[in-house]
Symmetry: C2
Subunit: 199 residues, 2 copies
């Protein structure tokens, strides 16, 4: 979240979540704007056929459930992917403060617009027809470490869910990219992208 | 756009666009919030390899370029997919009015939150691994006509771009769905979805 908005927000309520614990479920009354302090919150929808799709993955400093500020109910589950600490800013409270401070509502709108751009970029990535292209797109967007490797910062399984891929398709694509010399796995969540591939 | 927000907006500037004409290009100074009155605006990004990706497709009553209210430049092209009429609400003007009317900024935020939810739904659709699933998902979301058919309301080519599919993959998937009895093409942009398939 933008520091400017963070300072303008009235205090919220902190909530600790154990790994796998739900902050809310689809159908629950809307809590308000969520902010991850520590850990990772996954917004998840499960299809009628039981396919689990991650709609949004919020890490430290990132918001989630923004739309619930203006809606009565949640449309997905919010699950702590690891042990997490989140702050919830109730909608009614934000609306009250925004009435007295027009700048706050404008800052919230600016934040939502930035999230909208990020979601469009995600959709653009998901529209890439090949698993390998989606993976390369994510990996090239990671900042390089001092030793030149890049850290995924999450499990390959979690990345697969985020990209709408099966684990098998993800591992097959990784192996194919490695054979083609487009990446090298360095153990754990670290990869190296040859200079040629970034050109 | 929400009627509530539409009434609260200060007047914008109308602009007529011929088929294929650009309202703005990536890198242009941001115009502000756009609203389609007639026709269709496509927000398009072209990859370095020349692949054309439709990021957003706005029809009558829908907004586009929402994020440009808070940014200095556009990050994609806005092209009229057919002869169109749009209204542009300049950012500076909206900001001035919102300062005097805190309710306007809140309404803009609510609108952006709704767009965010729509973009996530789009990403969810794009995460479906098979072309046929993406197509069925779009077609089942169309309202049935009185005769029971559903009208795409755009070309199959335009839908393919929207779903990140090649035309060939789209036509192959349509043929496969038809052979499987999951849809019937009725000519033009009309299809019929058997009752069994909607269950």
């Amino acid at each position: 979240m933008n520091a400017d908005l963070l300072q303008a927000l009235p205090p919220g309520r902190d909530r600790r979540l154990a790994h796998g614990e739900a902050l809310f479920r689809a159908g629950d009354a809307a809590l308000g704007l969520g902010l991850v302090r520590q850990g990772v919150l996954e917004l998840v929808r499960t299809s009628p056929e039981g396919r689990r799709l991650v709609l949004h993955r919020a890490g430290p400093g990132e918001t989630f459930a923004e739309a619930s500020l203006f809606e009565s109910h949640h449309h997905c589950d919010a699950i702590a992917a690891v042990s997490s600490l989140v702050t919830v800013h109730p909608a009614a409270e934000l609306r009250r403060v925004a009435r007295a401070d027009p700048g706050l509502a404008w800052r919230i709108a600016a934040h939502l617009a930035a999230r909208l751009v990020a979601e469009r970029a995600r959709a653009e990535r998901l529209a890439l027809p090949h698993a390998a292209d989606r993976l390369l797109d994510v990996l090239h967007a990671l900042p390089p470490e001092p030793d030149g490797t890049r850290r995924l910062g999450r499990s390959w399984k979690s990345l697969a869910a985020e990209l709408g891929l099966s684990h098998e398709a993800t591992y097959r694509a990784l192996a194919r990219l490695e054979r083609a010399g487009l990446l090298r796995r360095e153990g754990g969540d670290r990869v190296r992208l040859p200079a040629a591939a970034t050109a």
